[in-house]
């Protein structure tokens, strides 16, 4: 058994290691070392906890059993999961952090002596406030992440679910959560604690259902942030520095990612959270549009265009992930490179279903990361490129965002794909993208539409090169 002061110092060390873990991600070279620091921090935190309880009785055996049980499930998932399923996985993991926070809070509420927080029915006020905030945020994280997971997995429709009075209802529930925490702290009633948890689960569910599929990058980042705040809340309850530091890190990390994602869509955070984007207006918009002529081609035409190009820019989007076309794409690019054609990749901040989604898929397909560029880095290069190959992206290339102030996506930063000499657009049909608006790019003179599955088309082009 080690003293409380010594264990506090070790928790601080593990908190610092977690900071270094995130710091390592500033470049791919240092990132693996960063991950190692993170693992070290976790090992220190867990070991110190064992030593500080000094309890190596039979209960300890069960702790080890549950760690190995969870650990083997986690390891199994980590090795099996395809990279295209990362958004679902991360959403699923967030839900587990949320639920774990809820369970720890329940345990502490039922048996506060174990944590030096007082006695059932007479828990220290400060601890009770922290505990109930941690539990409520954890519950919201859990149910919200479950919905996000179901939407990403396709079990639940990705389209927004809206109903009348949705926002007032949510507002009432949020206010009632605050009222419940206040009442709980003044009465110490166990019933109120359970009601608080139930209501928090409900609001997490209600907050996420009106948010559509392509806004998932914001939702996932936001839930990431929530899971951090929940951990911090529990950290205050347990007076644990490692948890407080980590909670704050994760909380701000998720908040920054949400901000970057919102900026990538030129929408305010509240606009995304209130949801319903690209829902009902869709039908209206597409009916009024007259049929405009498009040029469509086949793999042969595309191969011909690319063979005669000297530089090609690839614009991947969610469609590439759906079609699992990243490997086929890399093979196509390899063939192009053999013909001395310069190839680079342009990634929009909100391409895909989570921050950095496209980068991971390209990394999986062995695309060197110095060929992959962010929007600001590459946007000026489109004018000098011969061919833009848009695979699975749509709204993020729509020139309407720059020209039509009436458009819902006006002001959103887009890739200047139309400035290329020619544009190859791989898409299954002419249907509008997530925002429910027509892409002007389809009808440009220099655009050739390739109507096919992204993977199949890419493979066919490679054959024709």
């Amino acid at each position: 058994m080690i003293s409380a002061n010594l264990s506090a110092i070790f928790y601080l060390v593990s908190g610092v290691l977690f900071i270094l873990a995130l710091r390592g991600l500033s470049s791919p070279e240092t990132s693996r070392q960063g991950n190692f620091f993170g693992i070290m921090g976790m090992i220190i935190a867990v070991t110190v906890t064992f030593l500080s309880t000094g309890n190596f009785s039979s209960g300890f055996i069960y702790v080890l059993i549950f760690i190995s049980l969870g650990g083997s499930i986690g390891a199994f998932i980590a090795y099996k999961i395809p990279m295209t399923a990362m958004p679902e996985l991360v959403a699923g993991f967030h839900s587990l952090v949320g639920l774990a926070a809820v369970f720890v809070a329940i345990s502490a509420f039922l048996n506060p002596q174990a944590f030096n927080l007082g006695f059932p029915g007479n828990i220290k006020l400060g601890s009770l406030i922290e505990m109930s905030i941690g539990a409520a945020v954890g519950a919201i994280t859990f149910s919200g992440s479950v919905i996000a997971f179901l939407k990403l997995q396709g079990i639940m429709s990705g389209s927004p679910i809206t109903f009348k009075g949705q926002h007032p209802l949510n507002a009432i529930i949020l206010i009632s959560i605050i009222a419940l925490i206040y009442l709980l702290c003044s009465t110490q009633s166990a019933n109120l604690f359970w009601i608080l948890l139930g209501v928090s689960f409900l609001i997490g569910f209600l907050i996420i259902i009106p948010i559509g599929g392509a806004d998932m990058p914001v939702v996932i980042s936001m839930l990431n942030s929530y899971s951090g705040w929940a951990a911090a809340g529990i950290g205050f309850t347990l007076e644990n520095t490692a948890l407080i530091i980590t909670g704050a890190l994760v909380g701000s990390s998720g908040a920054i990612l949400s901000y970057i994602m919102c900026k990538g869509m030129n929408r305010s955070f509240f606009n995304v959270i209130l949801g319903g984007f690209g829902g009902t207006d869709e039908a209206k918009g597409s009916v009024s549009k007259e049929q405009r002529p498009v040029k469509s081609g086949n793999a042969d035409d595309a191969a011909f265009l690319m063979k005669n190009a000297s530089s090609v820019i690839i614009v991947p989007g969610y469609g590439m992930a759906v079609a699992q076309a990243q490997h086929a794409l890399r093979e196509m690019v390899d063939t192009l490179k053999k013909n001395d054609i310069k190839v680079s990749y342009a990634i929009h901040p909100v391409a895909g279903r989570m921050p950095g989604h496209m980068n991971v898929l390209l990394a999986e397909a062995n695309v060197p990361y110095d060929e992959v560029f962010e929007l600001e880095e590459i946007n000026n290069n489109f004018a000098n490129a011969d061919v833009a190959f848009v695979i699975g992206a749509n709204d993020v290339t729509n020139p309407v965002a720059k020209t039509d102030p009436q458009s819902p996506i006006y002001g959103m930063p887009v890739l200047d794909v139309e400035k290329c000499k020619s544009v190859l657009f791989v898409k299954r049909s002419l249907s509008p993208g997530y925002a429910g608006i027509d892409n002007d790019l389809f009808y440009k003179e220099n655009t050739l539409m390739l109507f096919a599955d992204a993977k199949k088309m890419t493979e066919d082009i490679t054959k024709n090169l």
Binding site: L25, S58, I67, S72, I81, V97, V104, N111, G247, G356
Partner: protein, 103 residues
């Protein structure tokens, strides 16, 4: 008059938010997905609370409602810790492979 320890914890919390803010802005956008999975893994340090909860029973009653929630939380957090760190490692290894290819 002594300062309430809560104030110290609050100071750590606020300063950590600022540290997080600057550290996360320096993360390269191409590593945003590993960032999410690693933050997931480290936020599961909540397992320390779960372990304390799980070990709170005495030798006669290892399992009571409170410890059972503790044990469940241990399992959930362990899924995240192992899953989170390993999947991060798997992703980062792919970024590594590319460098070898370049040489």
């Amino acid at each position: 008059m002594e300062i309430d320890p809560l104030i110290f914890r609050l100071s750590i919390f606020i300063l950590s938010i600022f540290v997080g803010y600057y550290v996360v802005w320096s993360v390269t956008p191409s590593l945003h997905t590993p960032l999410m999975s690693v933050t997931n893994a480290i936020s599961s340090v909540i397992i320390v609370g779960a372990i304390i909860a799980g070990l709170s029973g005495n030798s006669d009653t290892i399992f009571n409602t409170s410890t059972i929630f503790g044990f469940l939380a241990i399992a959930l957090a362990a899924i995240n810790i192992f899953g989170g760190f390993l999947v991060t490692q798997r992703m980062l290894a792919m970024y590594k492979k590319k460098r070898k290819d370049k040489k």
